[in-house]
């Protein structure tokens, strides 16, 4: 074995400290390394939502019977969505708040669709830690600002579902949606 090492050193000296075998070693280890990394890709990707989960990504709603002051709960991507038909009084209350005073400044108009400002669509997922806020069903606690109240950690949302008090950082999220007719909306 001593002879093997001696030969290696002699060669290295002759070629300026670089052995021809260094190339083979680096190429082999690099190929194995890149191959290993590529093999990791499917192992990571398989945990992302599968095709059937992605296919559930739209929800169609008929709101013909939704009257002013009422809300309905729907399901979008296995999570609750609140659709609320705002009363004129609720819209005025929302517009009366100075936007600059809000934690997450947004006007009601920014959170609804032109022509349908009285229909407020938000995810029923508290932006604090993900509980479902109360206020969508008849007789539930609507919080101090008449919108939604999350019982887990006491976040109060107003009639435009904006955070007003409590630990939540953001307004309730408005999902992407559109009206396909005056009374039909598609979420997602």
């Amino acid at each position: 074995m001593a002879t093997t090492t001696d030969t290696a050193f002699t060669d290295a000296a002759a070629e300026g400290g670089v052995r021809r075998r260094d190339f083979i070693e680096i190429a082999a280890v690099a190929t194995a390394g890149v191959g290993g990394l590529i093999a990791v890709l499917p192992l990571v990707s398989q945990m992302a939502p599968s095709k059937d989960v992605l296919a559930e990504s739209t929800t169609e709603l008929d709101i013909t019977s939704l009257e002013a002051g009422q809300s309905i709960k729907a399901v979008f991507r296995k999570q609750p969505v609140f659709v609320r038909h705002l009363t004129p009084a609720e819209m005025q209350a929302a517009d009366a708040v100075p936007v600059d005073d809000l934690r997450d400044p947004q006007t009601l108009a920014e959170r609804t669709i032109v022509g349908h400002e009285n229909i407020l669509v938000v995810m029923g997922v508290c932006t604090h830690l993900g509980c479902v806020p109360l206020g969508a069903a008849e007789g539930e606690n609507k919080g101090e600002f008449g919108g939604y109240f999350c019982p887990c950690h006491g976040s109060h949302y107003d009639t435009a579902a904006r955070i007003r008090k409590g630990p939540a950082p953001k307004n309730l999220e408005v999902p992407a949606y559109e009206f396909t007719s005056d009374t039909t909306l598609v979420i997602g």
Partner: protein
């Protein structure tokens, strides 16, 4: 343990020094598969399959854990959840094909590993324990492979489960209650599927534990080699790293090319189309066969068609299990002090005859259960046991082996300084 000239682990990095003092895990790796493990210098590619088998186990555990994230072990949805994996889960098709073909790949590697063990008598002293643990691993693999095949809950899954648990029904007195207990019912059903899934997940980790014992037991005497002559001095060995990590790495590359050719281009070649039909307890497939890696043993099972003192069914089951259990006695059946088949002319002939016999059994296990295959199976089965119980002990007592080289070094270089001048004739380099 190791040879006195084994390289010592000497960390220079302070973090590694700290680790070495508190928990010498890098030292363990260094001594197990690093420069600290001296290995005979003459190992051929037949010594590649231990590392390959280890790779297969890791491959099966990784892909298996992934599949378990998407599979549902319930008889109502199991079949559909496998289709969900194939169609909906990102890369799910790759994970399933890699796992299913990985099982075949694993068995190919293990059969070649066993072939090496038989030819070079790897089971002989001082490596009996390595061999015994290896046979245990093989039995665990067979159980794991069988239960894994049941999980997709197709026709072959269902009827495989029924037939294999039926083997236990052959045991006198307790057989039938035992079979019902194993299945948790009168036929394979949700209870059986659930417990098979649980055990299929557990057993690979039991195998991993046995692999650690297998390697531990191996490293006490050190690896065997193609001459069967034990290591005598430093010139007989090379450090495992880089010499055998490089050689095994090359072998792994070649094996992966073959394996991937199956995974990507013929993923169902080793499977059975009937398993894409959902399990139906009211209809048995016309030609029911186990996975190819069980064929030799399946042929032995079916070879017994007549009652002789005991019922034929029981003979078949006993013979099938005995076909593997007899390997446990190999170290004591083959008493020849010479290990390598290269120096055993008579053994060598019968060794190849056994290989042919096993290939015939393999072919018969996949064939239909009708004449003339049944008669062939009976002859091949008889020869199989004759080899182990009669021929092998006789060979080892009457055979005159060819002269062995003085040392591994002499076998490789044609000369060994120490062979002529005695030990320490030349100062160690």
């Amino acid at each position: 343990m190791s040879f006195p000239w084994a390289k010592q682990y000497e960390p220079t990095n302070p973090v590694m020094k700290f680790l070495d003092e508190k928990l010498p895990l890098p030292r363990l790796v260094f001594n197990a598969v690093g420069a600290g493990y001296p290995v005979p210098r003459n190992l051929s590619y037949m010594w590649n399959f231990g590392v390959l088998a280890g790779f297969c186990l890791v491959l099966q555990i990784v892909t298996g854990v992934v599949l378990a994230m998407h599979y549902a072990a319930n008889d109502a949805v199991a079949f559909n959840s496998v289709e969900h994996i194939m169609r909906d889960v990102n890369w799910g098709w790759l994970m399933r094909y890699a796992h299913a073909n990985g099982a075949s790949f694993f068995f190919v590697v293990i059969y070649l590993h066993l072939f090496r063990g038989f030819f070079y008598s790897s089971y002989k002293a001082p490596r009996e324990m390595v061999w015994l643990i290896g046979v245990v691993i093989f039995l665990l693999m067979m159980a794991t492979g069988f239960m894994g095949y049941v999980l997709p809950w197709g026709q072959m899954s269902f009827w495989g489960a029924k037939v294999i648990t039926g083997l236990f029904g052959a045991i006198p007195v307790v057989g039938e209650p035992l079979q019902i207990w194993l299945l948790g019912g009168y036929a394979p059903d949700n209870a059986a599927l659930n417990r098979f899934f649980s055990l299929h997940f557990l057993l690979p980790f039991v195998i991993a534990g046995c692999v650690i014992l297998h390697i531990w037991a191996l490293h006490i005497p050190g690896s065997s080699n193609p001459t069967g002559v034990e290591v005598k001095s430093e010139s007989d060995t090379l450090p495992f790293h880089p010499y055998y990590t490089a050689k095994d790495g090359f072998g792994l590359g070649v094996a992966l090319i073959i394996y991937m050719a199956f995974v990507f281009f013929m993923p169902n070649a080793l499977g059975h189309p009937d398993n894409y039909i959902p399990a139906n307890p009211l209809s048995t497939p016309a030609h029911i066969v186990p996975e190819w890696y069980f064929w030799p043993f399946y042929a032995i099972l079916r070879a017994f068609t007549f009652d002789f003192i005991l019922p034929a069914k029981l003979w078949g089951v006993l013979a099938m299990f005995s076909a593997i259990l007899v390997w446990f006695f190999l170290p004591w059946l083959d008493k020849s002090p010479v290990r390598s088949g290269h120096y055993r002319p008579l053994f060598r002939k019968f060794f190849w005859l056994l290989v042919v016999d096993m290939l015939i059994l393999f072919w018969l296990g996949g064939a239909a259960a009708e004449e003339p295959y049944v008669m062939f199976s009976q002859i091949a089965t008889a020869y199989y046991f004759l080899h182990f119980l009669v021929i092998l002990p006789i060979i080892s007592s009457i055979e005159r082996p060819e002269p062995l080289p003085f040392s591994i070094t002499e076998a490789v270089l044609g000369e060994d300084d120490k062979a002529v001048l005695g030990d320490n004739a030349k100062p160690a380099a």
